[in-house]
């Protein structure tokens, strides 16, 4: 056999019948050390702490028992004692639905794991290094405007507000880029706590009020539904989602318009709707609105500061929280963006909740 990955074939008793040169190279064994030997005894699988994995938990055993192909990440202890991360795919060989053997294909993913680790470390470092000077710009500008250093003229206050807006835009861009990189690298850590969605939304509206009032846009919040506005979720991620949607609504609404948030506290979930009286999204652009880098042409001409990443990010973040997002929009009239959050979310990869069952 000649193939880039390691390949091992076993018979119905789990004994190794064939092994390719790549497998021998990865494992550090000679062919005669493996042929005829019982697979689990010779191919040692461990956890990252170098503790042996029970036979029943190994992909090979699962493939034999279930008759299905199994794909997993694991760790092998090779001949020289090192533990290496591997990606394993095992397919059973069936005759009349009975396993006659199996084929395992595996590869050493040490380099890929190293690259992922470097990506995560870069993200953390970039996040800190880029944002520290921005924190100072924002904090001192706000302190000046808020009068901590004495009274200012209205012209001075106006200039400072320009600095604040610019630093907010830069911060949003850094946040968006870093969060997208984290989502795509699988490096988002979800930390679930009980929180009040009404209070969080109120906080975001307060933070955006300066921007809205400059465009003479009215902001409002109301709550409906008989349930509580409190639920378990990740507050920082949710704040990012709400901030993105409200900030978009303000950005794409002309002067004198309205932006509102509605929290509908339903029995199994909370649905939050952000409504604006803005330029709206043309029907032929609806399919692409959550795509990376997409900006609807009707607004790109009118509002040049967007990146086309906000809604792509919001969708990705909502998936981390077990939620779902959809919208309705009419060009020239405005848009409604709805998203749901399941109550008592315990963490990523929950597959029990279907938001469409509860959609009004």
């Amino acid at each position: 056999m000649s193939i880039g990955d390691g390949v091992i074939v076993t018979d119905e008793f789990g004994k190794i019948t064939r092994v390719n040169p790549q497998a021998l190279r990865i494992l550090g064994h000679k062919e005669d050390e493996l042929l005829g030997q019982w697979f689990p005894q010779k191919i040692i699988a461990v956890n990252p702490q170098d503790k042996a994995i029970p036979l029943i938990d190994r992909p090979m055993a699962k493939a034999y028992l279930t008759g299905k192909s199994i794909s997993e990440k694991s760790y092998y202890r090779v001949a020289d004692g090192r533990v290496i991360p591997v990606h394993i795919s095992v397919s059973p060989i069936l005759l009349n639905n009975r396993p006659q053997g199996a084929i395992e294909i595996f590869r050493d993913i040490t380099t890929e794991e190293g690259i992922d680790r470097m990506k995560s470390e870069f993200i953390s470092l970039a996040s800190h290094q880029l944002r520290t000077p921005l924190s100072s710009i924002k904090t001192y500008s706000h302190m000046l405007v808020d009068g901590y250093m004495g009274d200012l003229t209205s012209a001075q206050k106006k200039s400072l507000k320009t600095i604040i807006f610019a630093s907010n835009r830069m911060n949003e861009l850094i946040s968006t880029l870093l969060n997208i990189t984290r989502i795509e690298s699988g490096a988002i850590a979800v930390s679930v706590k009980m929180l009040d969605t009404k209070r969080l939304t109120d906080e975001v509206l307060t933070e955006l009020s300066l921007h809205a009032s400059d465009k003479k846009i009215t902001l409002s919040l109301r709550c409906t539904g008989k349930g509580s506005t409190r639920l378990k979720t990740d507050g920082l991620i949710l704040k990012e989602i709400i901030t993105n949607l409200l900030s978009n609504a303000i950005k794409y609404t002309p002067e004198g318009g309205n932006v509102s948030a509605k929290i509908n506290a339903r029995p199994n979930d909370i649905m939050i709707t952000v409504t604006d009286t803005g330029w709206g999204i043309p029907k032929h652009d609806h399919d692409q609105i959550f795509s990376k880098f997409f900006r609807a042409p009707n607004v790109s001409k009118l509002e040049t500061t967007g990146t086309g990443l906000g809604l792509y990010l919001v969708k990705g973040l909502l998936e981390e929280l077990g939620g779902n997002i959809w919208f309705t929009s009419k060009e020239g009239e405005g848009s409604d963006f709805h998203f749901t959050l399941p109550r008592n979310y315990t963490g990523p990869k929950t597959d029990e909740y279907d938001p469409k069952v509860n959609k009004l």
């Binding site: 996040s127 800190h128 904090t139 706000h142 901590y148 850590a189 930390s191 933070e207 990740d234």
Partner: protein, 131 residues
């Protein structure tokens, strides 16, 4: 009103937060790394600690571990300062007893003062017991 210990290695931000919280009537002490914070906490008895995570010499997580091990002030509130939201470090800080996370680059001065005042009034949450 309350004793607040600010632990932040960036001197500009450390200074800014001191001005803001002093103007709220709190008594403020500052430290620029976890080691200095441990020394000052013993003498100062803070009611609330504003703790940056990424600092030289001793970072925020190491400080939290050492602080809890010594069991200096069980009822103290700890608010984490970070620009690394959604990171495993923030999750670990919560596990070690932090009550809340403040994103530095998002938080305006009046919001900082409000968050601190709200946290001082909230009941204490005990740190999770280790297995």
């Amino acid at each position: 009103m309350a004793n607040i210990l600010i632990v932040e290695d960036d001197r500009d931000l450390n200074n800014a937060y001191s001005i803001i919280l002093n103007s709220e009537g709190h008594t403020v002490e500052t430290a620029f790394n976890g080691e200095e914070a441990l020394r000052k906490a013993k003498i100062f008895s803070p009611d609330l600690i504003l703790l940056d995570l990424l600092m030289p010499i001793m970072g925020g997580l190491e400080f939290l571990q050492a602080y809890k091990l010594i069991k200096l002030h069980p009822d103290v509130k700890v608010l984490i300062f970070t620009n690394m939201e959604n990171s495993p470090e923030v999750a670990e800080a919560y596990r070690l007893g932090a009550q809340r996370c403040i994103i530095k680059s998002w938080t305006a001065p009046h919001n900082l003062a409000r968050v601190v005042n709200d946290s001082l009034q909230a009941p204490s949450i005990p740190a999770k017991k280790s297995k």
